[in-house]
């Protein structure tokens, strides 16, 4: 792992949101999320309502990590997609490099359609993140370089 940060500039953030919005429409999905493999939510689109997206992101990452562990035990690198079908709501997860594409859908769509559209978008997202990785900035300074002990202590008062 190189010792450089990955930066999503404003335009890329909007591009990602646009890709997710398009996927949501094409797949007739309720909501679409992009999540880091460590469980951090990066972007989302759709009918979120009161959905606890933080917990969903963490559990999706845990789910992929667990099935990835099983994959390695049987000699596979990972399982690139996971699907969970409920009575009304279903979830499809695709592994895209270090990211997870999570699609939430109901009976307005179908697993086949979601799989197809996710696969198409996965390739696009993968290319976008390759570009972003290549463009990593090495002159970036942490915005917290100037924080003081007092700043930190103030969090606990």
């Amino acid at each position: 792992m190189p010792d450089t940060p990955i930066l999503l500039r404003e335009q890329h953030y909007h591009q990602i949101k646009a890709v997710l919005a398009r996927l949501r429409m094409d797949a007739s999905a309720k909501a679409v999320f992009l999540v880091d493999k460590d469980g951090q939510e990066i972007a989302s689109q759709g009918e979120l309502g009161n959905l606890d997206t933080t917990s969903l992101a963490s559990l999706a990452a845990g789910n992929v990590a667990a099935t990835g562990g099983m994959a390695q035990l049987i000699g596979e690198k990972e399982f690139p997609t996971l699907s969970h079908e409920g009575d009304r709501e279903s979830i499809h997860i695709s592994v895209v490099g270090r990211l997870l594409l999570v699609v939430l859908f109901d009976d307005r769509s179908s697993l086949g359609l979601v799989k197809l559209r996710s696969k198409q978008v996965s390739q696009q997202l993968s290319r976008m993140f390759d570009e972003i990785t290549e463009a990593n900035s090495d002159d970036l300074e942490s915005p917290f370089a100037g924080i003081t002990d007092e700043d930190i202590d103030s969090l606990f008062n």
């Binding site: 792992m1 190189p2 010792d3 450089t4 940060p5 990955i6 930066l7 999503l8 500039r9 404003e10 335009q11 890329h12 953030y13 909007h14 880091d36 493999k37 460590d38 469980g39 951090q40 990066i42 606890d52 933080t54 917990s55 963490s58 559990l59 845990g62 990590a65 667990a66 990835g68 562990g69 570009e131 972003i132 290549e134 463009a135 990593n136 900035s137 090495d138 002159d139 970036l140 300074e141 942490s142 915005p143 917290f144 370089a145 100037g146 924080i147 700043d151 930190i152 202590d153 103030s154 969090l155 606990f156």
Partner: protein, 221 residues
């Protein structure tokens, strides 16, 4: 389109951008410029029944609902942690950024080692919860060794990451003196906190000690 290194749109505090900070140990702190949030991952580690989930449960019970999310527990029917517990906690604002800590526990039982390895991925700070009872000393030592080994498997070095040792269950009768436990379990001069997690003693002191180290690491960049 391709970004270039000298693009004029470097991040500013007003831009919408995400920074995935990756240091040489692959810790991931997310800094979200859009919602002005910092997200850090803290993992509570230790032998079975040492009180990791109890730490999280106490934090959950004594934090205002608006400052925390749900406590997710993936546990067995007998309330033993099966995969992990998870809880997001917002501590407050530093330099205009909301600081949010994602607190995780690992399953302590020896045979869940594969799960423990997975949960350590992307960790920013670790709390080792030791069980102070005499009969659990071997389990503490074994778990601490397991932590070092599993961190190393993920290219982390215990000597370099934010780390706190909590001596839990100090209210029980058959405990080892804190000085002896510290001599046996302290690895690098890390903060040592005596605790009774079930009543909350030392729980927030522990969290504060590890959170301070994580934020101090952020300052280093």
């Amino acid at each position: 389109m391709t970004l270039n290194r000298h693009s004029p749109e470097l991040p500013t505090r007003t831009s919408i951008a995400y920074l995935i900070k990756t240091n040489d140990q692959q810790a991931m702190t997310f800094i979200n410029y859009a919602s002005r949030e910092i997200n850090c991952k803290i993992v509570y580690y230790g032998p079975g029944l040492c009180g990791k989930t109890t730490n999280l449960q106490y934090i959950f019970d004594s934090t205002a609902p608006q400052a925390r999310g749900k406590l997710i527990s993936l546990a067995t029917e007998t309330d033993r942690t099966l995969f992990f517990d998870f809880m997001p906690l917002e501590l407050g604002t530093v330099r205009g950024f909301k600081t949010r800590f994602h607190l995780y526990t690992v399953p302590g039982q020896v045979f869940y080692d594969a799960s423990r390895k997975l949960i350590l991925k992307g960790v920013d700070g670790v709390v080792f919860v030791a069980d102070s009872q005499e009969e659990r000393m071997d389990a503490n030592v074994e778990s601490l060794y397991n932590l070092e080994e599993n961190l190393a498997a993920q290219n982390y070095d215990l000597m370099k990451i934010p780390y706190v040792l909590q001596l839990n269950k100090r209210d029980l009768p058959n405990i080892i003196p804190a000085s002896e436990l510290t001599a046996e379990l302290q690895r690098k001069g890390e903060p040592v906190v005596e605790a009774v997690a079930s009543s909350g003693t030392g729980v927030f002191d522990t969290l504060k000690a590890v959170a301070k180290q994580v934020l101090t690491e952020l300052r280093k960049g």
